[in-house]
Subunit: 413 residues, 2 copies
């Protein structure tokens, strides 16, 4: 079963809002084995809506339409659907009762504009929208299903969850789509592809692999299709296991777990506490660690030493070493990691020092020169990286490199 | 001039990533008077890509294509474009040189997969991608422009800003759309709407107002349309001036300037230095301040005191006050702000302490109870807020409240 999503509204085309509805719909439909064929965003324009409906109807089984159902003049969806199905608007008693009660409960008079929300195309089955005034509409024609819903995310989601998804699930055939996400770190996309080329080549035809690179690593997504769900799950698990045996040191999690959460779990499991000493990341490393709930169980605090006097006075970095090697050096970043660990009395200290740019570079140390360091009671390990995109990207990349350094040191990989 | 956007990639249809590229493209194209006609998201499928190109080519002048340019097997865009334009891949010397240097600068060998990134359709003009390995491609056929770019947001944006937008602007006709963004903070959307209702009512018909609320405040966007650009600019400026006179204390910037940058400018202008003492924001406040280039001119450093022993030992917060009032209290947050200022020898100290959740709340201090404080040589000011959505949103809202508190105290508003 294939679905098309049509989102209607100028605000999406002007970029004034980001369309998050479509991603949510894609996720929910995949769960019941319906694949989204295409997402089409168009303006509130009758001709364009009609043409799009004509186009997608020949390609998909289900057409989900969001937006253009407001009470104002620029909202054309309902009238256009009347044209498309060659029908007219009639008053729906149930919808009128709902909108009347909604206004009564808010202590407000029902206006004529709002009353018109209960006018629906004669051939549709109204779909209740308990959170808003514009009901959803369910149409069937020539074996195809059309559902029109408001674009307001929480109204659309409630309509989908309460009515549309259960109804579609009943009707979809039993073709299942199963996803597995494998989170990797420490290998660029092409190096990763080289390492797992034989495995990828040998994947059965019903399983596809996608590489989804980001600053924190490359997410691998396996997508399997089959008519019997049980076999597919086993088949997928077997492939994931094979993959894990190929690159164990680079896989930090299965599923949608960010690196900072995987590291948090590891710290908790080992009973380790951690502190950060940050220069170029300016708090971003601590922010990532503390973005995870209950991080206070292992994260104690940080000294952000942007200015050298803070490195010397608060972190006890040697003023001589600062003068001799500079702030962006193995010596200084190692002292930062080791000293913050002692200062805040933690098991692990992690430090960053680099030139995030856009200015501050020198011929010997251009923008993008970055040191990260790890320290525990036994050892201090420093690592140099070079990464020069834009300031914020450099900061984020440094953060993920530091998180991965801690993960590697704890795991001994 | 009309544009179509085509985004290619299964991950969008499965809802695994939200398509933010299209909104950014819509915004940037509108600035140069190009309207987006349709956004179409499709999978990595040759036939579907070909059909979509055929469809949109008859409707738009410019077709912007993102995604499917990675080095791996699932990326089909380049090969499909060859089919579409009935041409073949040839090695582009400039692109090969760029990708070779990129790898050399990272100290890594160029793999065969990466070398293939320099193979481009024979009929395209390569568009440099200085941030990545896959070059953009510019095609012209039968008066239509096709541009293919990577889907990685920062690479796509850089290619657009450096090359594609300037080139399109040269070619677009003279119907102008002018935007003005007015950044406000400290008034919720409906209160703001009440305050400026008369002004909004009196706007001329060619100027539209949009409210774009976010965690840091409400961005107001005026969109004006006219055939003569010069008059429109003046007309827009006059409306912005009227608005500024209505809510001077709530406008922190004109244009796309985030609050942390506006505050940075203010600090630089006044010659003030600043330090943060953070508990619940865990580095996010410092991160926002240091996300701005040259923030080292005014930002000295921070003590992130997540655990109480760090509040006592590093920040000198009274252990008695901590025991009596708790960490989330006016007393403690005020001491944090005042003490970090003295400790790091800055003009201003700013502190946060609150319960970001999801756990850690009590009946007296539920999740979302947050204190922020400002301190300078003369005074210490603390403010209590209550904000309880999700952990990350609570952290971000606290950060913006703290930034605005500093801004208000410096400006005396």
């Amino acid at each position: 079963m294939l679905a098309d999503i049509i989102t209607i509204g100028d605000e999406i085309l002007y970029g004034q809002i980001v369309d998050t509805n479509s991603a949510w719909l894609g996720t929910e439909l995949a769960k019941i084995g319906i694949k989204v064929r295409q997402i089409t965003s168009i303006s509130d324009n009758t001709e364009h809506i009609l043409k799009t409906l004509d186009d997608v109807k020949t390609q998909s089984d289900v057409i989900l339409i969001t937006g253009g159902l407001g009470p104002t003049k620029d909202d054309l969806t309902k009238h256009t659907l009347c044209k498309y199905f060659n029908t007219q608007l009639i008053l729906d008693a149930g919808s009128l009762q709902h909108v009347t009660e909604l206004f009564r409960s808010r202590g407000r008079e029902l206006t004529e504009l709002n009353r018109q929300q209960a006018l629906l195309p004669a051939n549709c089955k109204p779909v209740p929208n308990i959170l808003g005034t514009a009901p959803g509409m369910w149409f069937e024609e020539e074996g195809k299903i059309f559902v029109s819903m408001p674009g307001v995310p929480f109204e659309m989601k409630r309509i989908m969850l309460d009515t549309v998804l259960p109804e579609l699930q009943k009707r979809s055939n039993k073709t299942q789509i199963v996803h597995r996400v494998i989170q990797t770190v420490g290998l660029g996309e092409s190096f990763l592809a080289d390492r797992i080329a034989d495995w990828e080549e040998a994947l059965p035809p019903n399983i596809k692999l996608a590489y989804l690179p980001s600053l924190s690593g490359v997410r691998l997504r396996l997508t399997g299709r089959a008519t019997s769900a049980t076999n597919l799950e086993e088949q997928m698990d077997a492939q994931v296991q094979k993959l894990q045996s190929l690159i164990p040191e680079h896989i930090f999690a299965l599923g949608e777990v960010p690196l900072e959460e995987a590291l948090g779990r590891l710290l908790k499991e080992k009973g380790f506490t951690i502190a950060t000493a940050e220069s170029c990341t300016g708090g971003h490393l601590a922010h990532k660690l503390t973005s995870i709930a209950c991080s206070s169980e292992y994260f104690m605090g940080s000294v952000l030493a942007y200015h050298n006097h803070v490195k010397i006075n608060q972190l006890g970095v040697s003023a001589d070493d600062l003068a001799q090697y500079g702030a962006v050096s193995e010596e200084v970043v190692s002292q930062m990691a080791a000293n913050v660990r002692k200062l805040l009395n933690t098991d692990i200290g992690v430090a960053t020092s680099g030139i995030a740019g856009p200015s501050g570079g020198t011929p010997e140390k251009p923008v993008g020169t970055i040191w990260v360091a790890y320290a525990d009671a036994e050892k201090t390990v420093a690592k140099k990286i070079f990464y020069n995109k834009e300031r914020l990207l450099n900061i984020e990349y440094t953060t993920y490199t530091a998180l991965n350094l801690v993960r590697q040191q704890i795991m001994g990989v």
